[in-house]
């Protein structure tokens, strides 16, 4: 699948053409992480040096994905990616089976689970500002969430969607996307399980979004 998708260009304040696709291989993923990692480490170091609160420093900035290659291959998944101007701007991995709602009123109903989502470091304001720059593209995370909601609709899950948010992302999922914080998961380092009901997913997609 390859579909055109617009992102927001911070430099021109105008939409910019990108592409959403679902054929990111493990090799592509690792290559991208090798590309992203130096910028994340550099920014994290700058943040720590400037005395920024530790809570704002990316939790997994030191994470070396290349050591996880064998595990990634065992998991045998494919990722969604968004490219713009020849570079990958964000990646997401979905689980489309075996997950269900934790909300009492939707308990047991199937949903799409996002178990990985990340945007390129040059699109994250806190990181690039630590290096004296500004972010390049906006709404990358939003577009990936939109793709996940649409996938949920395609699967017949009515837009139901869940994820474990990192603490630095909770505000985005709860306040900006309108997801519900269902509870902290002790099996996942107390990360917050966030969920979209069909109604919230429809609101997120907005007018002309085709949520019906």
């Amino acid at each position: 699948m390859r579909v055109p998708v617009e992102l927001f260009d911070y430099a021109t304040k105008e939409p910019v053409e990108g592409e959403l696709f679902d054929e990111v291989t493990v090799e592509h993923f690792l290559e991208t992480q090798r590309d992203w990692r130096p910028a994340v480490i550099e920014a994290a170091k700058a943040m720590l040096k400037s005395g920024a609160p530790r809570v704002n420093v990316p939790r997994h900035f030191h994470w070396d994905w290349s050591t996880k290659e064998a595990d990634l291959r065992v998991l045998a998944f494919s990722f969604f990616g968004i490219t713009c101007r020849g570079k990958l701007q964000g990646i997401m991995k979905l689980e489309t089976a075996g997950r269900s709602s934790r909300l009492p009123e939707h308990k047991g109903k199937p949903l799409i689970y996002i178990d990985y989502l990340e945007t390129a470091p040059w699109n994250i304001k806190t990181l690039v500002e630590a290096l004296g720059k500004g972010p390049q593209f906006g709404a990358v995370g939003t577009r990936l969430i939109e793709a996940a909601v649409r996938r949920s609709l395609e699967e017949g899950f009515k837009g139901r969607l869940a994820l474990h948010s990192l603490s630095t992302s909770e505000q985005f999922y709860l306040e900006k996307c309108g997801m519900m914080g269902v509870g902290r998961d002790s099996a996942k380092q107390d990360l917050l399980w966030c969920e979209f009901t069909p109604e919230q997913a429809e609101i997120f997609l907005g007018e002309g979004g085709g949520a019906a």
């Binding site: 178990d115 304001k125 996942k188 979004g209």
Partner: protein, 156 residues
């Protein structure tokens, strides 16, 4: 899949997102958990292999005889003793524990099928495994080692 083409929606959403962190942690935590499990479990396995070898040889039993007496598959027994990364089945470990009269749970931990929680036990098991030396007949030292590991298993 048809994405939203409304430019106002995009601008509003970009403003809301505002270049913030959007990272999701499920996969990272799953991989970290796998790594943690592997760290806790793998080092115990050589101690299990050595224990089975010494216990068998102490009884002067060939692999065939031991397999028959314990009532386990010979091929699996060979794999246990020769393949470093082979994971024994629950039934086999249960049968070996019963035959050698050692607690099943501690033997399961030694075999890497249960997570060992006692660091002292892990340390002692690794020490035992580290003294491994292939010889035909049990030496006095091996005999003492075997008694030591049996005592350790029974104390848990």
């Amino acid at each position: 899949m048809k994405m939203n083409t409304d430019k106002d929606w995009l601008s509003r959403r970009a403003e809301l997102e505002d270049g913030c962190f959007v990272s999701v942690g499920g996969l990272v935590e799953s991989l970290a958990e796998r790594e943690q499990t592997a760290t806790n479990v793998v080092p115990m396995k050589p101690a299990f292999v050595r224990f089975v070898q010494l216990a068998r040889r102490d009884r002067r039993l060939s692999l065939e005889d031991f397999a028959e007496k314990v009532d386990v598959d010979l091929a699996e027994l060979v794999k246990i003793e020769t393949e470093e990364h082979y994971k024994p089945t629950l039934r086999t470990v249960h049968m070996i524990a019963e035959f050698l009269k050692v607690p099943e749970k501690t033997l399961l931990a030694l075999a890497g099928l249960l997570q060992a929680k006692d660091p002292q036990f892990q340390k002692a098991a690794l020490k035992f495994a580290a003294r491994s030396a292939p010889v035909e007949k049990l030496s006095q030292q091996e005999h003492s080692d075997l008694e030591e590991i049996v005592r350790l298993l029974c104390e848990q």
